[in-house]
């Protein structure tokens, strides 16, 4: 399911559909330029991997789409619209974000998940127990993890809960920030493959993990440090 697209891209009528794009985007934090003149088009169903040294602005690229950061110049688009104070609220209902910090909340895992579904934007989703269970099995987590305190989980477990939350939200666009860094090799391959092989999903992944690079379907972009 791709709720975000397809949208026709621009007046040129090339027929290509883009889910999101950056046009000559530059971002400066406290006098330091982290992104300079960056352009990228991500078509519907496209898979893009962004890698590069830390401090090269990879995370900022995802945060631009979520409206957490504003560009100094250039344009960030989602669908046919630029990311603005008006459109950003709708964009946040169409993407699933796995943040690098994995700070989803505190308390039992099932409460953190049900809080996401208490938001009005997600109220239409009725998550079935079997669906959660089968995803937990796929992610090699025991269902008892739902009753555990999120803070007490290991980094790898938190990461899988964050991926689980993203999948349960049923969005068509995934913004993944180092979403597999703490998983073991075999599970990593499995998760990467799941994201990469669904033709309906648009995936923008930030990672320096070779498991993503190895995947044939991916378009790989390297950010340079400024």
């Amino acid at each position: 399911m791709s709720r975000a697209g397809p949208h026709t891209d621009g007046p040129a009528g090339t027929g290509r559909t883009a889910v999101c794009g950056y046009e000559s985007v530059s971002v400066t934090f406290e006098g330091k330029q982290v992104i300079r003149d960056f352009s990228l088009e991500v078509p519907a169903g496209g898979k893009v991997l962004i890698s590069g040294k830390s401090g090269s602005g990879k995370t900022t690229l995802l945060r631009l789409l979520l409206g957490f950061v504003q560009p100094d110049s250039g344009l960030v688009r989602f669908g046919p619209h630029p990311v603005t104070r008006r459109t950003v609220w709708d964009i946040r209902r169409r993407v699933a974000y796995v943040a690098q910090g994995l700070d989803l909340g505190s308390g039992p895992v099932d409460e953190i998940l049900s809080r996401l579904f208490s938001f009005r934007a997600n109220a239409h989703l009725h998550v079935r127990r079997e669906e959660t269970d089968s995803l937990l099995t796929f992610l090699e987590l025991d269902p008892s993890v739902l009753k555990e305190q999120y803070e007490s989980l290991s980094g790898g477990e938190k990461q899988r809960i964050a991926v689980l939350a993203g999948l349960l939200l049923k969005r068509g666009v995934f913004l993944l920030d180092e979403a597999t860094s703490a998983l073991d090799e075999q599970l990593k391959e499995k998760v990467v493959d799941m994201f990469m092989s669904n033709p309906d999903w648009t995936v923008l992944a930030v990672s320096h993990d070779p498991a993503w690079r190895r995947h044939g379907a991916v378009r790989h972009i390297t950010m340079e440090k400024r």
Binding site: G67, F68, W89, R92, A99, G105, R115
Partner: protein, 262 residues
């Protein structure tokens, strides 16, 4: 029957007592002599002025003047809340002022009509005196609640942003921190109520009994006032947070950078 008056000579005798803490400060080198003297002087001047204007307000007892004085008190209270929570005055003065004004006037009106059964709503004795006491007691809750909410939110910024990214509105994403601020603001009063009447006499009851009321009247007032103070704290903290959310987040739902002055 009024209370025994305190003559200026007696007040002077009371001031002599200050020699003890001042002596302690000097002997143990606490270094607080200056601030003791300054605070006592301030208290004296402020209360002396209050005595003058309360006498004047009681004699005049004009509803419009009383309402104007109430506005002055609410303004002072709003400044006090913001100063003590280290929040940016530009962003918070108006929301806190509006929240205090609405909740305090609403609460006194209810108290004076329903609890005290008064005919004249704006009489100085009840409107200003009870209003002032309610407001004074809601300040601490407001300070704890408002700064607790914003500090907790700032500390858990990533969590808040994660909720936004999952489609939450500002209110939905901020709800855990609203809960935090509100319960932190209410907890002290809940504790005070539970221990009230154990051995020590609350200030208001002492005053009433000295003023000639029967202890039974005094406890009824005390209970009514405590419940009103508690409810008022809940309303005013909630309103302060809700009103200030409009000015302290930008249109992308991001917390503004200059919320705190320190």
């Amino acid at each position: 029957m009024g209370p025994q008056d305190i003559s200026l000579l007696s007040l002077g005798l009371c001031l002599l007592l200050l020699a003890i803490p001042l002596g302690l400060s000097r002997y143990l080198r606490l270094g607080i002599a200056r601030s003791i003297l300054l605070s006592v002087t301030r208290m004296g001047v402020q209360l002396f002025l209050m005595g003058i204007y309360l006498t004047w307000l009681f004699q005049l007892d004009n509803p419009l003047v009383n309402i104007a004085w109430m506005l002055v008190m609410v303004t002072a209270a709003a400044f006090t809340v913001i100063k003590n929570s280290d929040l940016n005055r530009k962003l918070f003065l108006l929301p806190v002022f509006a929240s205090l004004l609405l909740s305090v006037t609403g609460m006194i009106t209810y108290f004076n009509i329903a609890v005290l059964n008064l005919q004249e709503l704006f009489s100085a004795k009840y409107f200003l005196v009870i209003g002032g006491m309610l407001m004074g007691n809601s300040l601490r809750g407001n300070i704890i609640g408002l700064s607790g909410f914003y500090r907790e939110l700032k500390q858990n910024r990533d969590r808040y942003l994660y909720s936004l990214a999952a489609g939450a509105t500002v209110f939905e994403a901020a709800l855990p921190y609203i809960r935090h601020g509100l319960s932190a603001a209410l907890r002290p009063t809940i504790g005070t109520m539970a221990t009230m009447g154990l051995v020590f006499l609350p200030g208001m009851m002492t005053g009433q009994i000295l003023g000639g009321s029967s202890p039974l009247t005094a406890i009824r007032y005390q209970i009514a006032i405590m419940i009103t103070i508690f409810t008022l704290a809940g309303i005013t903290v909630t309103l302060s947070i809700l009103f200030s959310i409009r000015s302290s987040f930008d249109e992308f739902g991001m917390l503004k950078k200059d919320l705190f002055i320190s």
